[in-house]
């Protein structure tokens, strides 16, 4: 008896100009947690899309349980027992949990039965979830549970999870891992996609490592060091960010008791946020997604004006000034969403350079844009930040996520900001590019700038920050020096439990 569940043999998929998967082969055993490891652009997504029936391979064969397997669409994959939890949730905020689950089913049972089944599954696998809650009120971790339960209701033999921990607190990660181990014990196989090496070492039985579309090695993560895996992934060793002198200067940005109502039905209000950042300092703000990160960035960039007296830049009150004024005064920001927020997808990189650098780089004179200067600046960013693109005339959406991220972060850094606010600066960026961006952030601080990094990647925050705080439901935890913080304390800060009594006294009169 063969105990291989899924065997992949010579799977190849080419897109115009790029071979996403080049003859990839590996096998997943029954009841095995198998890691799929690789940088962004290594071909992980294409590979799992082929397994899930979203993309048709050019050549190669798959065998599931000994039988040929070639799903033409996801519903066929699901019928064969393959389920997938995507990195980005496809849930409707205005509907409740059971309704959302029903929407993904071909023949949903009556709502009452479904709610009962959801409850049963959630209790069996230790995923507490109330089927009647509106999804808009759930945390990111709870939303992920909805997606997982949606999959588990189909009794899958193979569960694919795409970067599941990127939105979770350490405690939630522990809960998820317990669930996955329970599934494994029942004989379900799991294909676990991640680039977080420690996680893979803790959870997975085997790992397949992809680089540039090729399978470059399989290893047993428990017996392999994180460094070794990382070097397999990248193909060479990469520089870890260098710490710099710790001398701090004057306060450049100060926020005093900033409160803002939620921007929409499912936004988060900001509640009494106070902080200050000094020249040469990096402040890291963690927290689970959806706890006020986007709202804080909008309030700092000037996209949403703040109540007078709350935002002070180099001693002057800029609360009521818009983005252009704040930028002119040296406060630069990089939002999380690359396409559509930090960059206009169909505009060229040159045009996107004008987006935020028009004033500071003098790309505009008397209202007229100097396209020659704009192109020069765009090319400077491309060269300095190693953006891989045919040229500055390329449309932003034609760049891979990591390359565009390097461009939009580079565009701000190249303008020599006094204060730089970045939200998720390395989200979806490969390890080498992430290290590069982190180094650039540290260089801004070393040059005497003040930096706020908002991120969900705790490792990243620990690497670059001098002080750390966490956002929870629009409140900011007390800021702590990073030196001496351990993962438990951070988890509690993110969960909002730490210093709760004190916070409560302040928040509720």
């Amino acid at each position: 008896m063969d105990d291989t569940l899924l065997r992949i043999d010579g799977l190849t998929k080419a897109y115009p100009g790029v071979i996403a998967n080049d003859s990839v082969s590996f096998a997943i055993g029954k009841g095995e947690i198998h890691a799929l490891l690789g940088e962004n652009g290594a071909g992980k997504s294409t590979l799992v899309k082929m397994i899930y029936g979203l993309v048709k391979p050019d050549s190669g064969v798959m065998t599931l349980n000994g039988a040929p397997y070639h799903p033409a669409k996801p519903s066929e994959a699901r019928a064969s027992g393959v389920a997938m939890v995507f990195q980005h949730f496809s849930l409707f905020n205005a509907l409740n949990v059971a309704e959302n689950v029903a929407l993904g089913m071909e023949t949903p049972p009556p709502m009452r039965d479904l709610a009962r089944r959801i409850r049963t599954v959630s209790e069996t696998y230790g995923l507490p979830l109330d089927p009647s809650r509106t999804v808009g009120t759930l945390s990111a971790g709870e939303r992920q549970r909805v997606e997982i339960i949606r999959c588990l209701l189909q009794d899958p033999r193979l569960l694919i999870m795409d970067e599941p921990t990127s939105v979770l607190t350490p405690q939630e990660v522990d809960i998820l891992f317990e669930t996955l181990r329970k599934l494994q014990a029942e004989g379900t196989s799991i294909l676990y996609i991640s680039h977080k090496l420690e996680e893979i070492r803790a959870l997975c039985d085997h790992a397949t490592i992809l680089r540039l579309g090729k399978n470059v090695g399989t290893c047993v993560p428990r017996d392999t060091t994180a460094r070794e895996m990382a070097e397999l992934m990248v193909g060479s060793s990469f520089a870890t960010p260098q710490a710099r002198a710790t001398e701090k200067g004057a306060v450049l940005l100060e926020i005093r008791d900033l409160s803002l109502p939620a921007p929409g039905a499912f936004g988060t209000p900001l509640r009494g946020i106070s902080l200050s950042v000094r020249a040469g300092e990096v402040l890291g703000l963690g927290g689970v997604a959806g706890n006020g990160q986007d709202e804080l960035l909008d309030a700092l960039s000037g996209e949403r004006l703040a109540p007078a007296g709350t935002v002070h830049l180099k001693g002057s009150d800029v609360s009521r000034k818009g983005p252009a004024h704040r930028r002119a005064e040296g406060l630069l920001s990089g939002p999380e969403e690359r396409l559509g927020h930090a960059a206009a997808p169909d505009m060229s990189l040159t045009e996107n350079a004008v987006l935020t650098a028009a004033h500071r780089k003098r790309l505009v004179a008397n209202g007229f844009i100097n396209w020659t200067r704009a192109r020069t600046f765009a090319e400077e960013v491309i060269a300095r930040f190693d953006v891989r693109t045919p040229g500055s005339g390329t449309a932003a959406r034609a760049l891979s996520g990591g390359n565009l991220q390097k461009f939009v972060v580079g565009r701000e850094i190249a303008q020599a900001p006094d204060v730089l606010v970045l939200n998720q600066p390395t989200w979806g960026v490969d390890a080498a590019a992430a290290a590069f961006i982190r180094q650039a952030i540290l260089d801004v601080a070393a040059r005497g700038g003040a930096v706020i990094v908002i991120s969900q990647d705790l490792d990243e925050l620990m690497q670059v920050s001098d002080r750390f705080g966490a956002l929870n439901e629009g409140r900011l935890s007390p800021l702590r020096p990073v030196a001496g913080l351990d993962i438990e304390q951070i988890g509690l800060m993110m969960g909002g439990a730490h210093d709760m009594e004190v916070a409560d006294v302040n928040a509720w009169p």
């Binding site: 983005p323 559509g340 206009a344 505009m347 004008v354 505009v364």
Partner: protein, 361 residues
């Protein structure tokens, strides 16, 4: 199996080629339509596109008409295209055109029979203001109350038409017109007449204004920060906010500008080719300009060419009715086909066709 596959980035070649392909396809399918109606398709196409310019007998009359008809279309379409670029959909140019004509004519008639040289400039200004004010209604309702500018601007067309009916038979009626509806005829009042600048060419002041608008829009969109912000707002509204664009101000600017240009077009029409404010002086230019704007790819130079082409089908259509006895509806169908094929061909700017052997199960 034919599949559409998204291109990694929009094809510049296809973007330039689609209007040409659309025209060719319209000729082919339109020719078949005319053939089915019993006309010789080649003769019909020639009558539509060739005869207005080169027919030995009619061209002398129809050639100047080309500019007369193209000018208002281009002037209005330029204004609309700037709004469309920013994602602000002014569908009510026809109403702004009518209100511009009424306001401009009224401002002039208030000084009748003065022969000051300032009368005509004053009328142009008042026409622009009238169209601007009519465009500001949907703009303010959108910025203050969040209403949909498509619906509001469209419905205001019918309000404007009702007002036109009222003033043509009431307030602005020619007191010496023996009870006939319609204002004084501006052709008989030199100070207010939008006469041909070069006799026999159809070049009136509206043609000049349209040309200036084309150049202005071209410079605005390609070189000026404001034009950049217009494009940015249309392509990525959140990125525009990050860049410091005030969305409310953008709405006011776009609807105000397109309203003012449409209002001017109305004034030029009523003081020139139409001659007087009548219930039906407008020929639907405000609506046809929407087709012109898209046919011209929302690009000023493209709009210039599209306006001329559309004017050609108008004039050619009249000739075809006259000479071949084709019904007016067939001509309108032909014009509609143009937009239809344009939008259909447009898909290939962002997608390409892939042939795959295996049919989907």
């Amino acid at each position: 199996m034919i599949r559409l596959e998204k291109r990694p980035q929009p094809s510049r070649l296809m973007s330039a080629l689609t209007p040409v392909l659309a025209v060719v396809l319209t000729m082919v399918v339109g020719g078949m339509l005319f053939w089915a109606l019993g006309a010789n398709p080649f003769e019909a196409i020639r009558t539509l596109f060739w005869d207005p310019l080169f027919h030995p007998q009619f061209a002398a009359y129809s050639r100047p008409q080309l500019l007369v008809k193209a000018a208002p279309l281009i002037l209005i379409a330029i204004g609309l295209s700037i709004g469309f670029r920013a994602g602000i959909w002014n569908i009510g140019a026809e109403g702004q055109y009518i209100m511009g004509a009424i306001c401009g004519a009224a401002a002039g008639l208030a000084f009748y029979p003065s022969d000051s040289v300032l009368i005509f400039p004053l009328m142009i200004l008042a026409g622009a203001l009238g169209g601007w004010a009519w465009g500001m209604i949907p703009a303010l309702l959108k910025t203050k109350l969040g209403t949909n500018e498509i619906l509001v601007s469209l419905m205001l067309v019918y309000v404007a038409e009702t007002i036109l009916g009222s003033v043509a038979t009431g307030l602005l009626r020619n007191p010496e017109g023996m009870g006939f509806p319609g204002s004084r005829n501006f052709k008989q009042w030199e100070a207010a007449h939008n006469a041909e600048i070069f006799a026999g060419t159809g070049t009136h002041w509206g043609v000049v204004a349209a040309l200036i608008a084309v150049i202005f829009a071209y410079v605005l969109l390609s070189r000026h920060m404001l034009g950049y912000q217009v494009r940015l707002t249309g392509e990525a509204p959140r990125a525009a906010r990050l860049a410091g664009v005030n969305p409310a101000r953008m709405i006011l600017f776009c609807l105000g500008l397109s309203g003012a240009l449409a209002g001017m077009a109305g004034l030029f029409e009523v003081t020139g080719p139409a001659g007087q404010v009548t219930i039906d002086f407008g020929s639907g230019y405000g609506f046809t300009a929407i087709i012109v704007a898209f046919l011209g790819r929302l690009n000023p130079i493209g709009i210039l060419l599209a306006g001329l082409l559309m004017a050609l089908t108008y004039i050619g259509g009249e000739l075809a009715q006259l000479m071949l006895g084709l019904p007016a509806a067939a001509i309108q169908l032909f014009q509609g086909m143009l937009l239809f094929f344009l939008l259909a061909m447009d898909v290939f700017t962002n997608f390409r066709i892939r042939l795959s052997q295996k049919a989907a199960a």
